[in-house]
Symmetry: none
Subunit: 160 residues, 2 copies
């Protein structure tokens, strides 16, 4: 018990492996969050368990980070660190998701129930990012009392 030395090798027992995967994945996401928070960085973690389940984390959103990855000059290497030089402004509009959501909201709960299942992951990602953005704005206001004139319609503005 009490956590003996952990061998860094494949765990053969499935149930044990799944447990470990879950715990470590959660830890990984948490670490990523902290990194983004403390260092004002952008990061995304994409994981696929052996069982075939997918788990993603991204700040400000998975998609924006992945897009930024593709916007890089030459990200051809694998399994290693790559250096970039410039800042690519990716400003992805959330219009697509926004329209969808607005449309859904107009039709009420019933429509939402059905339609939400037809939303793509990306759109949900965008919606999430929008909320995160709003959240950070609230945080900023609380911490510094910043009243920026750029207060948009609290809606889905993904541009950062």
């Amino acid at each position: 018990m009490v956590r003996r030395r952990v061998e860094i090798k494949k765990i053969e027992e499935k149930s044990k492996m799944y447990t470990t995967f879950t715990k470590r994945r959660q830890g990984l996401f948490k670490k990523t969050k902290v990194l983004c928070t403390m260092c004002d960085a952008e990061a995304a973690v994409l994981t696929f368990s052996k069982a075939g389940n997918a788990f993603f984390f991204g700040h400000p959103s998975v998609e924006s980070v992945v897009n930024r990855y593709f916007a890089r000059p030459s990200p051809t290497s694998t399994n290693s660190e790559i250096e970039g030089n410039e800042h690519e402004v990716v400003a992805p509009p959330i219009s697509e998701a926004e329209k969808k959501i607005a449309e859904l909201m107009g039709k009420g709960r019933a429509a939402w129930d059905v339609a939400v299942r037809n939303l793509g992951l990306f759109e949900l990602d965008e919606l999430e990012a929008a909320i995160q953005k709003i959240k950070s704005k609230v945080v900023a206001q609380a911490e510094e009392s910043i009243s920026n004139g750029e207060d948009q319609e609290a809606e889905f503005c993904g541009t950062d």
Copy 2:
């Protein structure tokens, strides 16, 4: 000195922030490697420092993982071609979390706009969590359809 409690908030001193970014990013990559090794999983980590530098890690490669992310069938257009299984939209309730959103959205777009702007951090957190849960369900459904075997649970995590 000797490492007192680390506040999880943005580090203002740039040099300090960069150092922390480097260290934590390395730790993150290491953790990811271990996760992949022990749980026979696939994962990718994409990071962008505030200074604009990019660092990636991926197993088996960044590209393969990112591709897998994009290859993820979006229920919007792909759900009917999966293994010839019938894919009914009329599924059981997604989750309790969705009620939160439905509640907010059920009143229409205008109400949503106002409501979101007046939400506190706690509520935004809840809302975000709700969206993440819905996203996870979408992922789960997609995965379920593919592997058509064991069903675990998919889940998304968001920035806290």
